[in-house]
């Protein structure tokens, strides 16, 4: 599953640590989500999407099996 977390974060000029603090998770978890190694829970997925003013399906693309870089 591909996601746009890294893309959105860099667009807003945020560091991984800043995003992690805003989401209430660890920096390691942001890294894992960005790399596609960890699929966030539904509540966290909503939190991420709302943080970037996007919908969950815009943020996470289940059709794209080319997961993380």
């Amino acid at each position: 599953m591909r996601n746009r977390v890294r893309e959105q974060r860099t667009q807003r000029g945020l560091s991984q640590a800043e995003l992690a603090a805003a989401l209430g998770v660890s920096r390691q978890t942001v890294i894992s989500i960005e790399n596609g190694r960890y699929l966030p829970s539904l509540p966290l997925a909503f939190t991420i999407a709302r943080f970037f003013d996007l919908t969950v399906d815009k943020m996470f693309d289940p059709d794209d099996e080319e997961a993380a870089p």
């Binding site: 209430g24 998770v25 660890s26 920096r27 390691q28 978890t29 894992s32 960890y38 966030p40 829970s41 966290l44």
Partner: protein
């Protein structure tokens, strides 16, 4: 009570409390000499845990008992691996004790603990509801005959 203790101090304080109990047993069993070895080990371990928990890592978050959801899930998986390895180890130890005609009652205690822990875990983690499909016209529950 634990809530009033800062998260970073919880594990070290638990270690110190547990270490004090172990030290008391050691003193009762072998005298004050055992403290010479136990006390530095306990204090250094607790101090090491405190320092370690200040780092920015998964293990540090687990040590200071503040894991996020990924870290909590990882912690569960680690505990599952540890549980499986310990169970396998206990099985091998049981066979070894049986072959050596050693007392088997400690294994009975652990088997009883296993059953109690499994039952407790099942009850603690159960979800509300009986799993029935309550939509109109649906068969009543999973015991209903298949159509």
């Amino acid at each position: 009570m634990m809530r009033s203790i800062p998260p970073r101090l919880r594990s070290p304080m638990t270690m110190l409390a547990g270490g004090a109990v172990i030290a008391a047993v050691g003193v009762a069993a072998t005298g004050w000499q055992s403290l010479r070895y136990l006390a530095p080990f306990i204090v250094v371990s607790a101090a090491g845990y405190y320092v370690w928990s200040g780092r920015s890592s998964d293990s540090a978050a687990m040590v200071r008992q503040q894991p996020d959801e990924r870290q909590a899930y990882r912690q569960l998986r680690i505990q599952a691996v540890v549980g499986r390895v310990m169970s396998a180890g206990a099985s091998v130890a049981f066979l070894a004790a049986w072959a050596a005609k050693a007392p088997l009652w400690p294994f009975a205690v652990f088997l009883a603990l296993f059953v109690v822990a499994l039952s407790a875990g099942w009850v603690i983690t159960r979800e509300r509801g009986d799993g029935r499909d309550d939509s109109p016209g649906s068969p009543r529950g999973w015991l209903a005959p298949r159509q």
